[in-house]
C-alpha cells in the first residue's frame, strides 16, 4: 500500500465532488492510501497571488507543513489551481533564501520542503500502465476521447516538471490503455478561462467554446479532464455556450478518473457520474456502460 497525503481543496468538497468520489475509487483499486491533510485550508488559488506574493506562498506552506508534521512526504493535489500553487511554493522556497526567511518568520513550524507534490496522473503513470491494465474489467472501446489537460498541469515547465509542456501525452496513454481511442488535437493545454468565470463570463464562453468546438471537429464524443475548474466550465456552461454560439455540442465532460473507474467495473453512481450536467447517458450507453 502506498501512502499519500491528500489535499482535496475547496472544489473537490463541493462542485467537484464527483472527482473526489472517482479518485477515491480508483486509488483504492490501485492500492493507494489517501490520507486527507489535517485541518486543510484553501490554497489561495489565483486570488492570493494577485494580492500578495508572500500570502500566495504562505497558504500552500501552511498545508504542506501539516502533511510534513504527520510524516507524509508525498502529497496528491487533484485540482490544477491547488497543484500549481503547491508546486510553486516548493520550488520558490528552494531557490529563494529571502522568501524562505520571511516564511519562517510567519510560521512557528519551520517547513523543510520535504513534501513532494503530485497530480494523480503523475502517480498513476509512475505506477505503470501495466498495473492499470490488470484492473480493467470492461473495455471503453468505442469511446473517442479528447484529453484536455488545462492550463497549469504542464506549465510553466520549471514548476510543473511533468510531461511535454505543449503536447502532453500522460492522460492520452492512460485513456488508451482503458481501450478508448484518443484524438489528436491542438487545444490540449489551452486555457478555459476559469479565473474569470464570475467576472468576465463573455471571455469564458468564448474560450470554452473554442475548446468544445475543436474537440467536436476532431471527432471526439467525450472530453476527459483532470481539473474540477475545467470541468465546471466546460460542463456547467455548455448550455450557455450552445445558446450564445447557436450550436449544439452535447459532449459529456468526464474526469479521467471516472473513465478509469468505469473501466475498472464500478457502477456509474459510485463515480458520481449522475452529477454531470451534460448527460453522458447516450455516449456511455452506446458502448454498453450505462
Amino acid at each position: 500500500m502506498m501512502r499519500f497525503a491528500y489535499f482535496p481543496g475547496c472544489s473537490l468538497s463541493s462542485s467537484g465532488y464527483d472527482y473526489h468520489l472517482s479518485l477515491k475509487y480508483v486509488t483504492k483499486a490501485l492500492g493507494i492510501d489517501l490520507v486527507e491533510v489535517k485541518d486543510w485550508v484553501c490554497c489561495g488559488a489565483s486570488s492570493a497571488h494577485a494580492t500578495s506574493h508572500l500570502l500566495s506562498i504562505a497558504l500552500p506552506v501552511l498545508n504542506l507543513s501539516h502533511a510534513e508534521k504527520e510524516g507524509l512526504d508525498q502529497l496528491i493535489a487533484p485540482c490544477l489551481a491547488c497543484l500549481s500553487r503547491f508546486k510553486a511554493a516548493n520550488v520558490e522556497l528552494e531557490h529563494d533564501a529571502d522568501l524562505k526567511e520571511k516564511i519562517h518568520q510567519v510560521f512557528d513550524y519551520k517547513y523543510q520542503g520535504k513534501v513532494k507534490v503530485y497530480h494523480p496522473l503523475e502517480v498513476f503513470l509512475e505506477m505503470g500502465l501495466d498495473k492499470i491494465r490488470q484492473r480493467i474489467r470492461k473495455s471503453l472501446k468505442g469511446l473517442k476521447v479528447a484529453c484536455y489537460y488545462g492550463c497549469v498541469l504542464t506549465r510553466p515547465p520549471k514548476i510543473a516538471q511533468f510531461d511535454n509542456v505543449e503536447d502532453p501525452q500522460s492522460m492520452d496513454s492512460i485513456v488508451r490503455t482503458l481501450g478508448a481511442e484518443t484524438i489528436d488535437w491542438s487545444f490540449k493545454t489551452e486555457c478555459c478561462g476559469v479565473s474569470m468565470t464570475l467576472t468576465r463570463s463573455d471571455m469564458v464562453l468564448k474560450l470554452s467554446n473554442d475548446v468544445l468546438r475543436e474537440a467536436k471537429e476532431g471527432g471526439a464524443n467525450a472530453i476527459a479532464v483532470a481539473c474540477p475548474l475545467c470541468q465546471a466550465n466546460l460542463d456547467g456552461r455548455q448550455g450557455q455556450i450552445e445558446e450564445t454560439y447557436k450550436t449544439r455540442y452535447g459532449i459529456p465532460i468526464l474526469y479521467f478518473t471516472q473513465l478509469m473507474g468505469l473501466a475498472f467495473g464500478a457502477y456509474p453512481r459510485e463515480l458520481g457520474i449522475q452529477k454531470l450536467i451534460t448527460s453522458p447517458r447516450d455516449v456511455l450507453g452506446s458502448i454498453g456502460l450505462m
Partner: protein, 186 residues
Amino acid sequence: MSIVFSKENLKLSRDLQALTGENAMLCYQCKKCTLGCPSAYAMRMKPHELMRALQLGLAEEVYWSGTIWICLSCETCNTRCPQDINILRVIDGLREMSKEFEYYNPYPVIPSLHRIFMAFVERFGKVYELGLALLINLRMLTPFKDIDMAAPMLLKGKLKPLPHMSHGAKELRQVMAKIRKLEGAK
C-alpha cells in the same frame, strides 16, 4: 504619442524589479507572449505592449488599459518567453502595486472578486462558491446572472447551499494577520 524619456521613466520598471525580481528591460518585443495569450483579444494593451510600456515607465497607460486584470494567469507567456521573463510575476507585481492607481482601473470588479474570495477564505478557511457568486453578482448589479448554470448544479448537489468551516480557519487567520503586519512594516 511622443514620450520625453528621462531617469524618471526608469522608476516603474525598477520598482517592479525590486518587488518581483523580474527585469522588464530584457524584453525585445518578439511578441511570442501576445501570440500565445488566450485573452489578448480582449486586451486594449497586449502583453508585449505592456512590456514595452513598462520599459518606458508609462504607469498610467499600463493601469488605464486594464490588461493586468484581463490576464487569466494561465502561464503560457512565461513558458514561451525566450528571455525567460516571468511575465505573470510581473503582472502580479503590478496587481500588488495597483492600490495607488485604483482610480484608473477600467475593470474594478476583478480585484473586487479577489478581495471577496480572500475574505471568504479568511472567514471560513475555504471558498464558499455560492456566496462568492452571489456577492460578486450583487457587486456587478446583475443579481440573477448565471442562475441557469447554478440551478442544476444546486439540484445535483454540486454547489453547497451553506458555507463549510475548515478546522484550520483559526490558524489561517493568525497567518494572514502576521503577513499583513509583516507587509505593512516594510
